[in-house]
Amino acid sequence: MYRFQNIFKQIDFALLLPVIFLIITGLFTVYSATHITQASSQNYFSRQLFYAVIGVVLIFAVTFVPYKVIFDLSYLLYGISLLLLILVLFIGIRGYGAERWLSLGTVKIQPSEFAKITTVLAVARYLSRNRRNINHISHLTVVFLMILIPFILIAKQPDLGTSLVFLALIIPMLYFAGISWFVLFVLVPPVITMVVSFNLYAYMGWILIITIILIFARQKLYLKILVFLQHILVGSLMPVLWNSLRDYQKQRILTFLQPEKDPRGAGYQIIQSKVAIGSGGVWGKGYLQGSQSQLNFLPAHHTDFIFSVLGEERGFIGIFIVLTAFLFLFLYMLYLSNQVKSSFSRLALIGFTTILFFHTLVNISMTIGLAPVTGLPLPFLSYGGSFLLTSCLLIGISMNFSRNRFQP
């Protein structure tokens, strides 16, 4: 009895309960989204239920793995996932979208999902070494390589949406590893320069802002000049680079940025999603009553657009509750990252939060037309085994860190 209580105490319910709530909400919504298409309805729901059960078991299992095992295995797991990513380029099966699967008998896995976790763990371990100063160029390069290699491998699949998750990891992880403002300043603004360089006035204004910041920055003069030159160079090269692209390449990038213009139907998806969500009103149409999603107006309503089904059937109140659950989860994970003693756990938690947050933000923004249609699933809610298990694994590791929060 005592022993049981002990185990009970080691479970972080603040982490577990919102996740369980989200998974159950997801199961109900997947059932609602698919029960009307008779042929495969049974299939989708029961498969998702199966994965959900495995996912919860996984959470508990990982929670009680010795902390050291996770730390020790992190490099090895990273290596294995890179290997799988290379393998999938050659023997992968193409899915309905851009992603690729690896077929192991009857089970199909998506190595890109597991690579997210292993990359975070490996980077966290690398950065957590004592006296490893992230502002040092060699250490910074290693971190960049560790993130960019899986990024490139996945972008080559070509799963642009998933690969962007890796890019999103860079800034927060470096930020919490203690990167200086100036290095961050060197890294981030050039991206903005790339975008504004297409408009001369915006570009001039942006360069002016950069110059003012540089004048007031406390840095060596030659560094400031270098950064300034960097912006001028990026700004003047971008239009040239863009014009050297072939028409279809330009088209692909434009479609990614402006899906409304895509004649193949991304615009249509967003319109239908907005109608579905908007028509839900404050209280929603009721469970299994959503006419838009039920009548197949909405494509991919059990995967990428599951949130639209929720919005239609549960209304603004339902949306608000689910969003609150997500927000609570993320803020709690950040809080946890401040509580744990070891910097490995802390950085890994930051990385995990970033992954979940990025997925959530991009997916939900997409359903109301604030972000391009990328095919990023919503954590815990979207149908799909690989990503559900990844999310559960990630929560399991976080709970493990919470259990071992006093471990240095």
Partner: protein
């Protein structure tokens, strides 16, 4: 500064948390806007109206000839379609009765289609039916009348084997190219198929609001609409006046005529007869008409210029001569005696001139097309060398013309013979046969025309093509296709000079004298190919002018008799039209002075099955 300092960390934590809270606030505001502020608007949309995406069909690209004459145009056609989600059983029944289609057929098609996409039931409906349907649309929920287009061909334009036809996409084609959507009209044969991605254009999209019965209520948001983009226009190398004339030459014959501009590889004319009326397949493919065309004994669907392969007969002696000269097995002065026959083991190969040609050198042998000379030569060079030079000169592989379903022909090799007859199962007789263009050897008329181009340019040749350039409406640019030039590596210019001289003599007093155009110096070669299906096929290939060649032609008439007597005059008439734009009257010829190669079976032995040309059953468009 200590980066692991707790207060420092907390500061960063607060910044990151604030960012997360900020993003969630925006999301909540977004949902508040959609669901609370605009909720009523969207509720109305979803209750009474639905938004439908209507695809607007683009205009299919037009086809012009080299003088910018319009050859293939479009005309509007109306299709009746049903939308599965909005239609009723009664409507389906009424429509089925009206068009005489089984109800089962329609319900099956509706069930297998996306619920909100119109499924086309009947294409190119008559005006009378169209008016009736439009008047009664109110009583037929789910019926949609779609503006489509069909191909229209100006008067005098036919050439179905070049243009091909369009038809509804089938499942296999959709799997091959996911851009094709159910009900799309795509090119099924000819240029329509080869250039389908250029011709089809880009579909436009219109978002409309419709009520529950599918009635249109107007645009949803005009800014989102996309206009369709006109498909690219094709500009051919074909000169349609010449093409028409060539078609008239081949009328009431079975065979093919191909003319190539030797300076670019552009096809000037390409005829295959018998053909069919291209208008029969212009709007929809009537199963009745399709069946008649398929079952027609003369195989009109089959483009003989590129899809049929035949033994080339004596035209192929030039290949044998090139092989022997280049490998220095003989010199042009090498002589052989022709007694009118050639004994090979128990077989006797007869020359077409029964009393023999006597002593002949290479020039004389080409000029008189002596079977005995070339059989002997074939035995001297051997099968391996013969196959090597055949392949070098473009035979046995596709020319790469911009038309689908090209036949590569067949060049027998040692391995091939070993497989068919077993090792040692074949004899020198087979080889002697091949050397004079008979036997298992198969070539398409286009390959022979390409060979004439190679001879005209002394080894330089260009990929035969029909399309010179296309005009793209999206980029508003004309796109020229580069001429793809190749060179016969390993045959010297001197060797070409020798055979060219031989061919020169063929039309100047040799077997091809009937192919000679007055006032134009030219070269050619006749052929009379035996086949087990009846009379021999008549061949003639030529290029002109001799010193600065412009055009190469190949003429083949199935089961018509001798090449010199039947095919060469057709070639001459075509070239006269090419050079003079009129026919040149000829003096009356006495019958017995006709010194042309008559039909003589080179090997009078058992007809082999493998001698027959490839079966004419490979239906175009069905693969």
């Amino acid at each position: 500064m200590n980066y692991w300092d707790r207060s420092f960390r907390t500061k960063r934590l607060i910044i990151f948390s604030s960012f997360i809270i900020f993003s969630f606030t925006i999301l909540v505001l977004g949902f508040f806007n959609l669901q609370v502020l605009q909720g009523e608007y969207y509720l109305q949309l979803s209750l009474h109206n639905v938004i439908r995406q209507v695809k607007l069909n683009p205009v299919r690209g037009l086809i012009y000839d080299s003088k910018n004459n319009l050859l293939v145009d479009n005309r509007p056609a109306f299709s009746a379609a049903l939308i599965p989600a909005h239609t009723t059983k009664e409507t389906v029944k009424k429509i089925a009765d009206y068009f005489n289609i089984p109800v089962k057929n329609i319900t099956y098609r509706l069930r297998s289609a996306p619920r909100f996409r119109p499924v086309i039931i009947a294409r190119d409906i008559e005006k009378k039916k169209l008016i009736y349907l439009a008047e009664n649309q109110y009583f037929l929920p789910g019926l949609d009348i779609i503006l489509d287009s069909k191909r229209y061909y100006p008067k005098d334009v036919n050439s179905p084997h070049i243009f091909g036809y369009i038809g509804e996409v089938n499942q296999k084609e959709q799997e091959r190219d996911p851009r094709y959507e159910l009900g799309d009209m795509i090119g099924k044969a000819g240029l329509e198929r080869y250039y389908d991605t250029d011709l089809r254009g880009t579909k436009g999209i219109r978002y409309i609001r419709v009520d529950a019965s599918g009635k249109e209520l107007g645009d949803f948001n005009p800014q989102l609409n996309e206009p369709p983009i006109h498909g690219s226009d094709l500009y051919l190398t074909l000169d349609y006046d010449l093409q028409k004339f060539a078609e008239s030459l081949m009328e009431d014959k079975r065979g093919s005529l191909v003319a190539i501009d030797v300076r670019s590889g552009g096809i000037l004319a390409m005829v295959s007869n018998p053909d069919y009326d291209i208008r029969l397949l212009s709007g929809k493919i009537d199963p009745e008409i399709w069946r008649t065309l398929l079952q027609d004994e003369s195989h009109p669907l089959y483009g003989r210029s590129i899809q049929s392969a035949y033994p080339p007969g004596s035209t192929y002696k030039i290949v044998t001569a090139i092989a022997a000269l280049q490998d220095e097995i003989i010199t042009p002065a090498w002589e052989a005696y022709c007694p009118g026959y050639f004994r090979l083991g128990r077989r006797i190969i007869r020359c077409w001139k029964l009393d023999g040609h006597g002593w002949l050198d290479l020039y004389g042998a080409i000029k008189n097309s002596c079977n005995v000379y070339f059989s002997k030569l074939g035995l001297k060079i051997g099968l391996k060398t013969w196959s090597k030079y055949s392949k070098l000169l473009g035979f046995g592989k596709r020319t790469g013309i911009d038309l689908p379903n090209e036949n590569p022909g067949l060049i027998p090799t040692i391995e091939y013979f070993n497989k068919i007859y077993g090792e040692n199962g074949w004899t020198k007789g087979n080889l002697a046969n091949l050397a004079i263009g008979q036997g298992e050897l198969l070539t398409t008329p286009l390959q022979i025309a390409q060979f004439a181009m190679i001879l005209a340019n002394r080894g330089l040749y260009h990929r035969p093509h029909l399309v010179d350039h296309i005009y793209n409406y999206q980029t508003q640019k004309t796109i020229y296709f580069p001429v793809q030039s190749k060179y016969v590596v390993g045959v010297s210019s001197e060797v070409f000079d020798v055979v060219r001289e031989g061919m020169h003599q063929v039309v100047n007093g040799g077997t091809g004298w009937l192919g000679k155009v007055p006032g134009i110096d030219m070269a050619g070669k006749t052929g009379t190919a035996q086949n087990p299906h009846g009379d021999p096929h008549a061949w003639f290939m030529a290029f002109a002018p001799y010193y600065h060649p412009e055009v190469a032609i190949a003429v083949m008439v199935e089961n018509a008799g001798s090449g010199g007597g039947v095919a060469a005059p057709i070639g001459r008439k075509f070239l006269e039209m090419y050079f003079y734009h009129k026919l040149i009257p000829r003096p009356v010829i006495k019958k017995d002075s006709l010194q042309v190669e008559p039909a003589i079976n080179p090997i009078q032995s058992v007809p082999l099955d493998s001698l027959s040309p490839l079966p004419i059953l490979n239906q175009p468009g069905t693969e």
